[in-house]
């Protein structure tokens, strides 16, 4: 799977969680938490959605890997390939 496809899948999840938020201006190298006002409940949801939609498990110690869009793509691409 291309990294661009992985990005799209992550963006789909985030836009479902941050309902009223516009993702168009998102800076992929900056913190998702700060740009979209995400909190720990939202990160739980990103993890839950990854599991529900793509059967991908993210152990709690790896949550910091989800900090930015770039780090999400980097961390999750190998998991999407499995």
């Amino acid at each position: 799977m291309q990294t661009s496809e992985v990005r799209e899948k992550i963006a789909d999840i985030i836009s479902d969680i941050a309902l009223d938020e516009d993702l168009a201006g998102l800076d992929d190298s900056q913190s998702l938490r700060d740009q979209l006002d995400l909190d720990s409940m939202d990160f739980l949801d990103i993890v839950m959605e990854l599991k529900k939609r793509h059967k991908i498990e993210v152990p709690q110690e790896d949550y910091p890997q989800l900090a930015t869009m770039n780090s999400c793509v980097e961390y999750l691409t190998p998991k999407f390939m499995q």
């Binding site: 969680i17 941050a18 309902l19 009223d20 938020e21 006002d37 995400l38 409940m41 839950m48």
Partner: protein
């Protein structure tokens, strides 16, 4: 006995139970909500009389936040439930006031108004008040590990004027405290933020608007809800909850139980004696009058008035049927851009459950009527402009609350003992709702969400 089994059973289809149900169903749990009543809502339900739709208890939704604010409780819960902001159709309050004998403090959803009112009435307290607000803003009231601290003690470290102290506590206590004349500081912070820093609004259409959204969402996600299904017993094997037995005798097996029934009520379902210290004492009467005219037609700008006769606010169970010396007067559709057809007012008085419970039927009616007459007098005094042809009136007492919600003593704010992490001494059985301790309608939904997240989705991590 049929084989009826679920991943999770939720006791009670109130705000917390429905919100918890949505979270669990969203992540593929097989969930069943059991409700003893024939409709949803619990302490915040609705009914119909003479063709008019009425809310049971809703004065206003606290925790107002404008669209786009994701950090407050309202924003968090909408996100967690995937409900778009606009679907709540929130209308903001016009203004409210705390009205004591010789002093009145107006507030709106803009904190500056309250600050300037404090400055005007208590010039020497302005800085203290600002420091208190700062302390509250910085406090994490949602930390499950917070221990009980007396709110009266904390606040009196900031506010020196006893009258201002009483006036600040008045709305905060009567809109959420299960304790008499004080409350846990965490709960005080929840209420202070929700009333003074965030503020009041009303969903267009009242509580039904929210309940319909929750119910629809829950069913859409495949959740199951059963009405007229009162739980009689929580079945425990070893130290593990394994299911519930309904009043009908039907057994439902489940891995986890979230109970929104209340702390003592859940203990009763386990077949245990009530600990008298866990039973709340604060109960209320509420008079509801529907008029053919709306308050805005007379230029009335009040949404809610917290009235108290003296300089000291006595928030405790009265030794009479009800306490006339203070009341909450709520014009529950006098909000900005309201398009309801009728005008309505509600008057809430503190009341004594035991005394109401002991009244004979005829006497009970008579006393209810006195409560109503007193309510009408109170409205006449405070909002003399608001008049019209009466379309309907109704009074509920603590006994009514007990009958419909099964809450001991008819306590709408539950037990003075709150279990913040929702844990019980039984494995797989958790509390959510009023006795978990996030207060108000928004708080109740957040409680259901948080407990579902913590104990089921995250498996208690």
């Amino acid at each position: 006995m049929s084989d009826d089994s679920f991943d999770c059973v939720i006791i009670g289809a109130g705000m917390s139970g429905l919100a918890a149900g949505i979270r669990l169903a969203m992540y593929n749990n097989k969930v069943c909500i059991l409700e003893s009543h024939s409709i949803e809502g619990g302490l915040n339900s609705y009914y119909q009389r003479k063709g008019f739709k009425l809310d049971v208890g809703l004065h206003a939704l606290t925790n107002f936040a404008p669209k786009g604010n994701k950090k407050g409780p309202l924003g968090k819960l909408l996100k967690q439930l995937r409900i778009p902001y606009d679907l709540f159709h929130l209308k903001q309050q016009i203004q409210s006031r705390v009205a004591f004998a010789d002093c009145s403090l107006k507030f709106t959803n803009e904190l500056d108004i309250l600050i300037s009112e404090v400055e005007e009435n208590f010039p020497s307290e302005k800085e203290n008040f600002l420091r208190l607000v700062k302390h509250i803003q910085d406090f994490n009231e949602l930390d499950y590990d917070n221990k009980y601290i007396s709110a009266k003690e904390v606040v009196s470290n900031f506010i020196k004027d006893p009258l201002l102290n009483e006036m600040i506590f008045c709305p905060v206590l009567i809109y959420g405290s299960a304790w008499e004349n004080d409350m846990d500081f965490s709960q005080f912070v929840i209420m202070f933020k929700s009333i003074f820093l965030e503020g009041f609004s009303r969903p267009q259409g009242g509580v039904r608007t929210i309940l319909n959204l929750l119910l629809e969402r829950f069913k859409e996600l495949g959740g199951e809800i059963r009405f007229r299904s009162a739980v009689e017993e929580i079945k425990v094997e070893g130290n593990k909850a394994i299911g519930v037995i309904l009043k009908s005798g039907h057994f439902i097996r489940t891995n986890k139980i979230l109970s929104s029934a209340g702390l003592v009520e859940t203990q009763s379902l386990l077949g245990r004696e009530n600990n008298p210290e866990h039973v709340g004492k604060m109960a209320f009467t509420e008079s509801i009058v529907l008029l053919d005219k709306k308050p805005c037609e007379f230029g009335v700008e009040d949404t809610i008035i917290f009235y108290n006769q003296g300089t000291k606010y006595n928030y405790s169970c009265p030794s009479t049927l009800y306490d006339k010396s203070s009341a909450v007067l709520c014009l529950s559709n006098n909000f900005l851009e309201d398009d309801e057809q009728q005008g309505i007012y509600r008057v809430t008085n503190m009341a004594n459950f035991e005394m109401w419970n002991q009244l004979e039927r005829a006497h009970y009616r008579e006393e209810k009527n006195k409560v109503l007459l007193n309510a009408k007098d109170t409205i006449k005094r405070f909002i003399p402009l608001f008049e019209g042809k009466e379309l309907l009136n109704d009074v509920f007492t603590p006994k009514t609350v007990k009958r419909f919600t099964r809450h001991e003593n008819g306590c709408v704010y539950g037990s003075p003992v709150k279990i913040k992490n929702g844990k019980t001494d039984i494995d797989n059985l958790f509390l959510c709702g009023t006795d978990q301790g996030f207060l108000g309608v928004v708080g109740a939904m957040l409680s259901g969400i948080s407990m579902a997240n913590l104990h089921v989705l995250m498996g208690g991590r």
